[in-house]
């Protein structure tokens, strides 16, 4: 049985805030008057934004809050509420002129079934797609956008290493696949722009982590990958490439809905710079009225509520449909939902590109088990990649060794990440690539996921010894 979480429609906060820009949504999670002051949430907050003491009603300092929603899913009394765009999306689904696109995140497929009485981890992929289509959505897999992210972020990692470690001025390499037919993509990078992109590279997929860096460690920002998160790649891709070449509809009609395991994604979509599709299309004279890259975001819980309101049970659909268009995704794309997944997907890409190897899809060589986060707060690994002959000549080395680190949950007041960041700022970090997930376990334990009451750690503070 999952716990019911209360929601409220989007509304501005009546406070003067310092760490938000104009148009950005604040107060995505808020404490209601049902709070009894048990103080569980405060021990889960990664930034110390939760204010209050045992016995008093708690309050969130929105300037400090990074919207991760860990307080919400760990509240034993269901006293923390979430901002929801559900009513707006329902209205758009009725509107015949709107072309509503669902951007489905990887972690949604392993948790949505819990809202319909199935155990955690039950996979809903093509049945989720079919249910969404029945509700009136068109599908854009966020896993596809995760694959895009890896193409960009993996290339960026190769560029940073080539510039800073190997001292190259430019690099050329091929991205290729031999199955089912040979496909080659030549990439040529002028490394001058990597002057401002130092090592180590941090992932930028987690919007709560990005905000954490912006508010608490602004000096670290050049280390963050310049790639947008998958959700923010999906929005503009749907509205440009999707609209013009795949679905062939007017981009202005497209209404993109992120379906995310996350409350911080609601905030991310509201960031003012994320209207790149509109800017790009306007330059070409194709649109006039301004629109955002991602128009609305629903959490996994909101989607379950949408299905319930429409009388759809996703469990009842077929699980064996073949994907089409933006429903295609790779194994590397789908593991984005778990801690260590972005790292593993990037390593699969970088390893294949640099070593030139293309083993069969089920080969163990694609598995980088060492970086999987599971339930350890921090994982580090050394990955040695042998170089293919052309690169050996170009670079003059036989192999490269990558030091990688996976931060699995920022932890209470930055417990698991502080020393990693301090090392980077001091210039003594040995890592090349660092993945950060704000929530322990990754997105699949995000603030927008179904709440398992047994999973709450409310018992933690009352126990005399850690179990």
């Amino acid at each position: 049985m999952v716990e019911k979480i209360r929601t409220f429609p989007p509304s501005p906060v009546n406070e003067k805030l310092k760490t938000y820009r104009k148009g950005e949504l604040a107060g995505i999670v808020r404490v209601s008057d049902r709070c009894v002051g048990c103080d569980t949430c405060r021990t889960q907050c990664p930034t110390g934004a939760m204010m209050g003491e045992i016995g008093t009603r708690h309050k969130i300092d929105y300037d400090r809050c990074i919207n991760c929603g860990q307080c919400l899913i760990n509240c034993p009394f269901g006293a923390i509420e979430q901002m929801s765009f559900l009513d707006e999306v329902m209205k758009k689904l009725e509107d015949k002129n709107s072309f509503v696109v669902a951007i489905v995140a990887p972690a949604v497929r392993v948790a949505l079934a819990e809202e319909f009485g199935k155990p955690p981890g039950t996979l809903t992929v093509s049945r989720l797609h079919l249910a969404l289509k029945k509700a009136g959505f068109h599908i854009f897999e966020n896993n596809f956008a995760a694959d895009q992210t890896i193409m960009e972020e993996g290339t960026e990692l190769i560029g940073r290493i080539a510039y800073w470690e190997l001292g190259l001025k430019e690099i050329e390499f091929e991205i290729k696949d031999i199955r089912p037919i040979s496909w080659v993509k030549k990439v040529k990078l002028d490394l001058k722009e990597f002057e401002n992109k130092p090592l180590p590279q941090f992932t930028s997929c987690c919007p709560a982590w990005v905000r954490y860096a912006e508010v608490y460690y602004p000096e670290i920002l050049p280390h963050l990958s310049s790639c947008k998160s998958p959700q923010q790649m999906a929005g503009p891709t749907a509205k440009t490439y999707g609209a013009l070449k795949v679905w062939k509809v007017n981009p202005e009609r497209i209404y993109t809905v992120g379906i995310m395991p996350c409350t911080a994604k609601i905030y991310e979509a509201s960031r003012p710079e994320f209207d790149s599709a509109w800017r790009w299309l306007k330059e070409k004279g194709l649109v006039t009225t301004k629109f955002k890259d991602v128009d609305a975001v629903l959490t996994t819980r909101d989607l379950a509520e949408l299905f319930r309101r429409k009388g759809i049970n996703p469990i009842e659909f077929s699980e064996n449909e073949k994907p089409e268009n933006f429903e295609w995704y790779s194994g590397g794309g789908t593991i984005f939902g778990t801690s260590g997944g972005v790292m593993e997907a990037a390593l699969r890409f970088a390893w294949s590109v640099l070593s030139g190897q293309e083993p069969p899809a089920l080969s163990e060589k694609w598995n980088f088990v060492k970086v999987r986060g599971y339930t350890h707060p921090r994982v580090e690994a050394k990955i040695t990649i042998p170089l293919k002959s052309e690169l050996k000549k170009e670079i003059g080395l036989d192999e490269v060794t990558l030091n990688v680190c996976v931060v699995n949950g920022i932890g209470y007041r930055g417990l698991h990440i502080k020393d990693v960041l301090e090392e980077v700022l001091a210039g003594t970090s040995k890592y090349h690539f660092i993945e950060v997930m704000t929530c322990p376990g990754g997105c699949l334990n995000g603030g927008g996921q179904p709440v398992e009451p047994m999973g709450t750690s409310w018992i933690d503070p009352v126990l005399p010894l850690p179990l």
Partner: protein, 107 residues
């Protein structure tokens, strides 16, 4: 006339039986307590179950569609062939990359 003579405790319950009962009760309480702590120790079980689901999906995609890494995705190939040309190309820089913003909260 004897109405009632109370038997000594050792007759009703021998010393051995007493020890046996106490021993069994302590064992029962210990096992129960152990079980309860077990329940809490696995309180994050659902995270592991969802993680397992995620890797199961990875295996499924690799088995059914032979797609292990991102660049093998047929739609990704189409996207770069028809539209974005190459990672870090002009289109990518405009649509898929971003910049960050220093926020000073004074913390």
């Amino acid at each position: 006339m004897k109405w009632f003579v109370e038997k000594p405790a050792s007759v009703r319950l021998s010393r051995r039986a007493l020890l046996k009962i106490f021993g069994i009760s302590i064992a029962a309480i210990a096992v129960g307590a152990y079980k309860i702590t077990d329940l809490f120790a696995h309180r994050n079980k659902y995270i592991k179950m969802r993680q397992k689901g995620q890797y199961k999906d990875d295996e499924r995609v690799r088995k059914v569609y032979k797609l292990a890494a991102s660049h093998q995705n047929p739609m990704i190939k189409r996207f770069y062939d028809e539209f974005a040309i190459q990672p870090f190309g002009e289109v990518s820089e405009e649509l898929l990359h971003t910049t960050y913003f220093k926020r000073t909260g004074g913390f």
